[in-house]
Amino acid sequence: MKTRIRRIQLASTERNIRFSPGLNIIYGPISTGKSQLLRLCRIAFGAKVKGLGPEVRGIRDIQADLEVGDFEFRVYRPLTDTARELICVSWNDHELLLANEAKPYRGQRYSEWLLGVFGLPVINVPSAPTRDESSPTPLSIRDYMMYCSLPKEEIGSQVFSHTHPHKDIKRRYIFELLYGIYSAEIANEQSRLREVRHIRANLEIQLRAIEAVYDDLPWGTEEMIVEELSRLQAELTAVQARKIETREATEQKSGVALLRSLVQHLDHKIGELHGQLGEYEAGARSRALLVKQLKSQVNKLSRAMTATGAFGRIRYKRCPVCGSGIDDSSRTDHLHCQLCLQPASPDEISLREFADEQRRIALQIEETEELSTNSEEEARRLRAKLEVVEAERNELSRQLDDKVSSFISDREQEIVGLAEAGARMRERVSTLESALKFARHRKEKRKRFDNIVEEENSIMESLEDLRSDRGISDTRIRMLEQEMSSILSRMKVPGFLDVRDVWINRTTYLPEVGGRQFEDLLSEGLTVEVNVAHALAHQVVTQKLGLGLPGILFIDGPSAAFGDDGYDPERCKAMYEQIRNVCEDSGVNVQVIVADNRVPTDFSNYIRLELSENDRLIPDIVSG
């Protein structure tokens, strides 16, 4: 994927460095900030903020204009990795705030977003490559960018950090992904396999426990339990039927049934009598209350009559309204009302009315009392009847108890025997039902386990199929080997090394030249040449085949490996020429940024930034 950094600006300084497509050189003596600049460029492409020198402390953030494919964007990247600091990405009229690598993550991270921009898959890979079920770890943009960087501390000793165990695992996964040995499908299958193996492990433990318990029990197979259970249930039904039959027959013979029936009949009758008696008693209470109230009314009437009689003889001496005295003698005679002067003899009338009312109430009292008397007689009769019925019921009940006792003693052994047998059988049935439930549970677990094992095998076959298809990847790796060989052959490497014999180890994915592994290339200059050729070959092949690797390469201090004593400028120049060739290969479209303190003369026009002791990358006033 075409990748370019067009510009990088360091905040708080005047550093605004522009880069061109193709080869770019940052030139300057040691400790002027060249390596820092390359690190800052890598930070713009998602690297973590670390490995920066103290002089960078004064730089708050960087601003970089980047290009990936046809997508151009600007990134504002703070040079701290605290969770609060967000990274701002903008393009056209869009702006996006993204989290950095510090936890807790506040939304999507910049590194995740870059994966999407590069069109690279988001994949979790097993942390132990030989164990598919090992815990997953994600592949990030930084892992891909390993193939785009030859830092000065590694350029002469490591191939893309291969001596770092954790990074080496990632390096190999990236190689496999780029060259088709590994894929997102394989990653998914490995994830499924992890899950299935976890389930299988749990099921295995459960099944082992169930089997251990089951084996110790004398139940036999599920079929045997079912057969035994059916037999027992049939036997139990027969015993229960026999028990009922025996009891009924004996009851009939001894007359117990008849007695029981009679007692029940009398109980019912007693209930009815109680009900009737209750009604009479309630009626009697109501009548008693009524009589009391009527008598009270009679008393009131009597009082009213006597009072009326007493007050009737009183003549008003004062006006009851205003209190003025009344001259009684002149107003009227005794035949007329003293107050209203109308003729009347109201006392007699009202007295007569009182008396009539009294008589009426007295009559009502009499009737009520007569009713109560009759009712009380009926109640007495009912009580007597109830007493008789209860006595009869008690006698029959006593006879029944006697008969039942003798019945039980006669048949005691038989009844007890049947009851015991029934109880034993019920207990056994219950045990067998539990056993059956357990047996079915075991069967189900076993079935589930078998299914899981089948699924596991299926996934492993699928993985094998996916991995076995090495046709394309072999072709690609051979292209890589050829390209690397071609590049090396144009570098002026020492003659003892057969550069035609370039081999990418199919296990470690490390280059071997002339039968020598990387660690066996004793000369540092040679290791640098091999490393640079290897990195360039990767760029050429992946860009030509469109395998997704970012088309940018940072090389730090390639000429330093050649040393000062015995420095061969031609070898250095040959190396630079190969770098330039790759950059200018129209089919490749790679940007290379080299930081060096010794640049062949022919390449001075590729210098984009020249630093010096007096003109460091970051002035002292900023770095403090």
Partner: protein, 174 residues
């Protein structure tokens, strides 16, 4: 029953006269002072079970209490008005008794003071000889002997004996 013009219920009038007459018979002959006291005393006489509870709380001797059986149904109900039992007929009873010269009613700084006249006492003595009025007369005498208290104190005693009285809403029957 024919209702005579301004002849309030004779029975009620007689009951009030019994009370006033009983209280007028005390050695200091003070009578009944205040409407409220008259209402409370009449309530007790009309609600005999409450009266019995109040008397027991007043530590009346058992011998005196059981000398005459004063228990019975409620004679006639009163209503709750403001702070205690009330019957608007009291005003008519007393007006009629006063007009008939059976009681004296004077307004003093303590309130209305009711005393029976000699004619009123004659009437009560005459009625007391009837069986119908014997019990009520006895209640009036017990009230005079044990319950000659202020209206406020009588109200407290009533509520103490029957707390339900205090729950009755104004103008509702007790």
């Amino acid at each position: 029953m024919k209702i005579k013009l301004f002849d309030p219920e004779a029975e009620g009038k007689a009951r009030v006269l019994f009370l006033i007459s009983a209280f007028s018979a005390k050695p200091d002959a003070e009578g009944i002072v205040g409407w409220a006291k008259l209402f409370r005393l009449d309530f007790l006489v009309r609600y005999p079970d409450v009266m019995i509870s109040v008397l027991k709380n007043r530590k009346i001797s058992q011998r005196r209490l059981s000398a005459v059986d004063i228990s019975g149904d409620i004679e006639s109900r009163m209503i709750m008005y403001r702070w205690g039992p009330w019957d608007p007929m009291h005003y008519q009873y007393t007006a009629s008794l006063y007009a008939g010269g059976l009681i004296d009613a004077t307004r003093e700084h303590r309130g209305m003071v009711f005393n029976a006249t000699s004619l009123g006492n004659e009437i009560t003595q005459s009625l007391a000889r009837h069986d119908d009025w014997y019990v009520l007369n006895h209640r009036a005498q017990l009230a005079r002997d044990y319950l000659d208290l202020s209206a406020r104190r009588l109200t407290e005693l009533i509520i103490e004996a029957n707390p339900n009285v205090a729950q009755v809403k104004m103008r509702e029957e007790i």
